[in-house]
Symmetry: C2
């Protein structure tokens, strides 16, 4: 079973680097959040709204992951926060070894909260440690309320679920209580936030939760 | 570079099985379509609309891929077409070896058009052959018009792009001409269809294109 053995070695190597990243972040008193979601669920919009809401309360940095392009990093950079783009070159998720050099490029001593936007994907990023303290999946209304059925591996490992694009509820069939029940069945400890990055609704509750995790330097 | 060598072997083994699947489908005069998309872009809805539109013109079969659950296969089964669910057990895409036993469970001699719904993912399924004749990506309006920038690997390998959920255009900022231009820049030969599975708009043009590829048995 040489193939499985190699996969285990890769995962173990990743975990070791993730632990080093985590230790480095801890030393710098940076709380890191791994933001995961389908393509187009609104990860970058959540990052933008979070930066705006926490301005003056927490100093934010961002790492943007994509298979290609730097459009997200360019968007985040307009807010003035330090940001690094990682292109995976076709890879379906970030890993700890990709995050390491990104950390080296960020002024960690001037950051309280590091938002790491993973590659848009509900499968591959789940459970692969980057060094983060908090794992979050963003689910959006247009994707439908059945996603926890189909991607349980993701919903099982997160600390919070952000339901984004709730401004679209009038136009779509998305049963919020049914979705909440599905998530609670898989992962009773996961916090659930309902937000709209378009209108700003619910952003306050989400960012209060994040701010509560940041130590004061 | 043992790790790279093993990845090549896996891809090569997959390609061999895919070629066998393709040959088997050709012998049975079945045209197979690999439908790829983000989670929640509407793959199953496209399958449902396609079955409905081609009823009496092409005999359809379906393979539904997901990491877990059989909700999609149950939905498709309500139409009466033969359908098989593949659960990848956490795997981020179908491969040729998973499709093989699914083909064995389908009455291929009674099928003209086989719709294979891949796992919701814009990265991993791109370019991994299953034995299909046609590759299609479904992009949905709520995901945003920047997806070809971020997932070029997918948009480069497809024969057609279906833009789904166009009924939501009044509520969202999605620049259709800009999206079409991005796709054309990456892949000038790709056909582009604009559809709404909710209203049925555009489904006729899409299904005419599919029907035109089916040989008469």
């Amino acid at each position: 079973m040489a193939r499985i053995k190699i996969i285990e070695q890769v995962t173990r190597a990743n975990d070791q680097i993730a632990a080093q990243n985590r230790q480095w972040l801890d030393e710098q008193k940076v709380v890191a959040v791994n933001l995961m979601a389908s393509p187009g669920a609104g990860k970058t919009s959540v990052v933008m709204r979070t930066i705006e809401a926490l301005r003056g309360r927490a100093r934010i940095g961002a790492i943007e992951g994509d298979t290609a392009s730097q459009v997200d990093a360019e968007r985040v950079a307009t807010t003035g926060v330090p940001v690094v783009q990682i292109n995976t070159g076709g890879g379906c998720r970030l890993d700890a070894n990709m995050v390491r050099p990104a950390l080296e490029q960020l002024p960690l001593d001037e950051i309280d909260l590091l938002l790491i936007e993973n590659v848009g994907n509900l499968v591959c990023p789940a459970g692969l440690a980057l060094g983060e303290h908090v794992n979050v999946v963003i689910a959006s209304i247009p994707e439908g309320d059945d996603k926890p059925y189909k991607y349980p591996g993701m919903f099982l490992v997160v600390d919070a679920v952000v339901i984004n694009k709730i401004d679209l509820l009038p136009y779509l069939d998305f049963d919020v209580p049914a979705f909440r029940e599905l998530v609670a069945g898989l992962n009773p400890k996961a916090r659930i936030f309902e937000v709209s990055c378009k209108t700003g609704e619910g952003i306050g509750e989400w960012t209060e939760w994040l701010a509560g995790m940041c130590p004061r330097k």
